[in-house]
């Protein structure tokens, strides 16, 4: 289950979607908005997604994790829109019979999500500047002729 939402995420509700009597290990990862980035104070933050492909790629990552680690169930919810410091941006929940698969799969899912799923983060800093994090500005300047 991979979802993109615009409202606050309820971690307990995400966890409840993977619970099962057969599972002795449940791992939840919460990614929260922190107040600094590379030494700069962050005031506000906004996420944006290309939802159509983000859902496809997110579901693909969960399926890959299932094949690699053999868990019982996994769920991931990412929030987009304006978020405050301390808000939950993403939750990953994984359940499995034993803890190893749950830990490893949870780690795999959040790591892959960060580099593959088309979601972007725009940070506003205390000095008034704004930046798309992870966005590298043009190395090559000017026209191509």
């Amino acid at each position: 289950m991979f979802e993109i939402v615009t409202i606050p995420i309820d971690s307990a509700a995400v966890l409840s979607r993977v619970e099962d009597p057969s599972c002795g290990g449940l791992v939840v990862f919460e990614g929260r908005v922190r107040d600094h980035h590379l030494g700069r104070q962050v005031l506000a933050l906004e996420y944006e997604a290309y939802e159509r492909l983000a859902l496809t790629e997110g579901r693909r990552i969960l399926a890959e994790a299932g094949e690699r680690f053999g868990f019982h169930a996994a769920a991931c919810v990412h929030r987009v829109g304006k978020l405050e410091i301390g808000d939950i941006a993403v939750v990953v929940a994984v359940s499995s019979a034993h803890r190893d698969a749950a830990f490893e799969a949870c780690r795999f899912i959040i790591d892959e999500l960060k580099v593959r799923v088309p979601i972007w983060k725009r940070e506003t800093y205390a000095d008034g500047s704004v930046e798309w994090t992870g966005c590298e500005h043009c190395a090559r300047h000017g026209h191509s002729h």
């Binding site: 944006e48 997604a49 983000a54 496809t56 941006a89 798309w132 992870g134 590298e136 191509s144």
Partner: protein, 272 residues
């Protein structure tokens, strides 16, 4: 006085990673031979401008730069000091240049103007590397390049006679392997306008000032489409920093552009 032709092979081709003059065209011929044949079809006085004085087995006389490293303007000044007259300058990387385009330039050539050139199909500025420069204009090149080495700005300063391209993509150049693949696709499958839907996100949405638009394009590949957009709107990200999605799924840069497709160019992501 007959027209001289100067074929420029002097560029370092850093982004292509190899000598563009020696690239093999889809029909198996060398690019330099394609340009030489076109040049010979309009003039008997054809020269190469090559910094390394290597004639690339063309048998043509080579005019070395008097001041190496001064680009096309320096090459033009060097040619003018070697031979009097007007000069048709041709870049060797015009993979799509065709006889009709060259013929039309010569037919429209007006020696009373400082130069005769084509408008770029996207930004309407003059194309400096398939253009005719009059002798009186070239004498200004040495002075001009003291302050500015941009050959396009030099051509603009000459107030050239400007022509619309009979074949719009004829002067599309190729500086990277992606652009070469685009040029070859155009050679093989022809140049046809297509209408595609674009969605913009994050840094590209802000740079473009739009979330979506429908555009007409001559591009055959995803990379060619992005290069058109980047040139037209001065977009800040190069292909090396992007991925591309077509109709909701990741695609490769050589993927074909088809009318009705939805394209998204994906800046570096930062979820989580």
């Amino acid at each position: 006085m007959s027209l001289n032709v100067l074929i420029l092979v002097g560029g370092r081709s850093e982004r292509m990673g190899r000598d563009k003059a020696l690239i093999e065209r889809p029909d198996g011929s060398r690019q330099i031979d394609h340009i030489v044949a076109l040049a010979r079809s309009v003039s008997d006085n054809v020269f190469l401008s090559a910094q390394d004085s290597n004639d690339r087995s063309t048998g043509l006389p080579v005019i070395p730069d008097l001041k190496p490293g001064t680009g096309p303007l320096g090459a033009l000044a060097s040619a003018a000091s070697a031979h009097p007259g007007s000069w048709l300058v041709l870049s060797c990387d015009l993979f799509l240049l065709d006889p009709e385009t060259l013929r039309f330039l010569l037919d429209q050539h007006d020696p009373e103007q400082g130069a005769t050139a084509y408008r770029n199909r996207i930004d309407d500025r003059p194309e400096p590397l398939c253009a005719i420069y009059e002798e009186s204009s070239i004498s200004k090149a040495a002075d001009f390049q003291k302050d500015n080495r941009c050959v396009r700005k030099f051509l603009e300063s000459l107030k050239p006679k400007l022509l619309d391209l009979p074949h719009p993509a004829a002067l599309d150049n190729a500086n990277t392997p992606h652009e070469l693949a685009e040029a070859f696709r155009k050679l093989k499958s022809g140049v046809h306008p297509k209408s595609v839907q674009l969605l913009y996100f994050a840094a590209l949405r802000e740079a473009r000032g739009l979330s979506s638009e429908t555009v007409e394009t001559l591009a055959c590949t995803a990379a060619g489409l992005y290069e058109e957009l980047r040139f037209r709107h001065r977009l800040p990200l190069s292909i090396d920093h992007l991925r591309v999605a077509i109709n909701g799924e990741f695609a490769t840069w050589d993927a074909e552009v088809t009318s009705g497709d939805e394209f998204v160019f994906i800046p570096p992501v930062a979820g989580g």
